[in-house]
């Protein structure tokens, strides 16, 4: 029987990567909460996860120049969308600190959940390997 470590760990490793990327996008929004003209961004978690899953199944593109796109998940900001503001501010900034903070915390909790699932998978693999 063929055994794949990727299959054994399930979707959680990709979920963890996307959660980490989303944390960066949300942190950047909070950092620019007072920047005039800055527009808040966010990632579509579902689409990103689907993209991350297919990226591991397909071959990545070769890059020979610094400007080339790699086509892998490291270019995640290309998939970032702009948030629709609830209340627009005079200086054109669309960051709502409350929304961003809540999203960041929720994202951090989901990160911990994905982490716990992944950790469980690894533990059960360890149990199987040791045969205790």
């Amino acid at each position: 029987m063929r055994f794949s470590l990727d299959n054994a760990l399930g979707i959680h490793q990709q979920a963890l990567i996307v959660r980490a990327q989303r944390a960066q996008v949300l942190a950047n929004n909070l950092a620019n909460a007072d920047t005039p003209g800055y527009q808040a961004r966010d990632l579509d978690f579902k689409a990103m996860l689907a993209g991350a899953k297919s990226a591991t199944e397909t071959l990545s593109m070769r890059t020979t120049r610094p400007g080339h796109v790699t086509g892998d998940a490291s270019d995640f900001m290309e998939n970032a969308l702009y948030r629709i503001p609830l209340q627009s501010s005079i200086d054109g900034n669309t960051v709502d600190a409350q929304t961003e903070k809540a999203e960041f915390l929720q994202n951090a909790m989901s990160f911990q959940a994905s982490f716990a699932f992944l950790n469980g998978k690894i533990r059960s693999l360890m149990t199987a390997i040791k045969g205790e």
């Binding site: 980490a20 960066q24 950092a31 290309e78 970032a80 992944l118 690894i122």
Partner: protein
């Protein structure tokens, strides 16, 4: 790794907010710094924030915030009749800095709240990373 970048991003944000606090402090300290002329009198200062860009190839902002410049508040300065003041002109007038204490206090509270948010985000990121380091234990 995306999570490690959070430290740079929040570091830049905290730096920017500190500069904002410093200009506010400077404005409040100079609220009574009368001057002899419109040009030499202190004017309220304000930092202008700008989003840092990822790289020359990408138009995506993603690496934090910077203070692009510090601007002085424009407009005519108020004149005050103080004949006994050493800087007073022939008519006995001195120029008053255009610092608005209420504006400055609001700005200070806003800056310190933003700073608190930045620290909280840093703490959450630290927890996420230290959890990752314990993966598989």
């Amino acid at each position: 790794m995306a999570l490690m970048d959070n430290f740079t991003i929040m570091g830049s944000a905290m730096r920017a907010q500190t500069i904002r606090m410093n200009t506010t402090a400077s404005n409040l300290a100079n609220v009574d710094s009368y001057g002899a002329s419109e040009q030499t009198t202190y004017r309220a200062r304000q930092p202008v924030f700008a989003a840092l860009l990822d790289s020359a190839f990408s138009e995506n902002p993603g690496v934090g915030v910077t203070v692009s410049k510090i601007v002085e508040k424009p407009g005519d300065l108020e004149k005050k009749h103080e004949p006994g003041h050493p800087l007073a002109d022939a008519q006995g007038y001195v120029f008053v800095p255009n610092v608005n204490i209420i504006e400055e206090m609001t700005n200070m509270i806003s800056a310190s709240r933003s700073y608190q948010t930045d620290v909280e985000v840093l703490n959450s990121t630290k927890q996420m990373i230290s959890a990752l380091l314990r993966l598989g234990e």
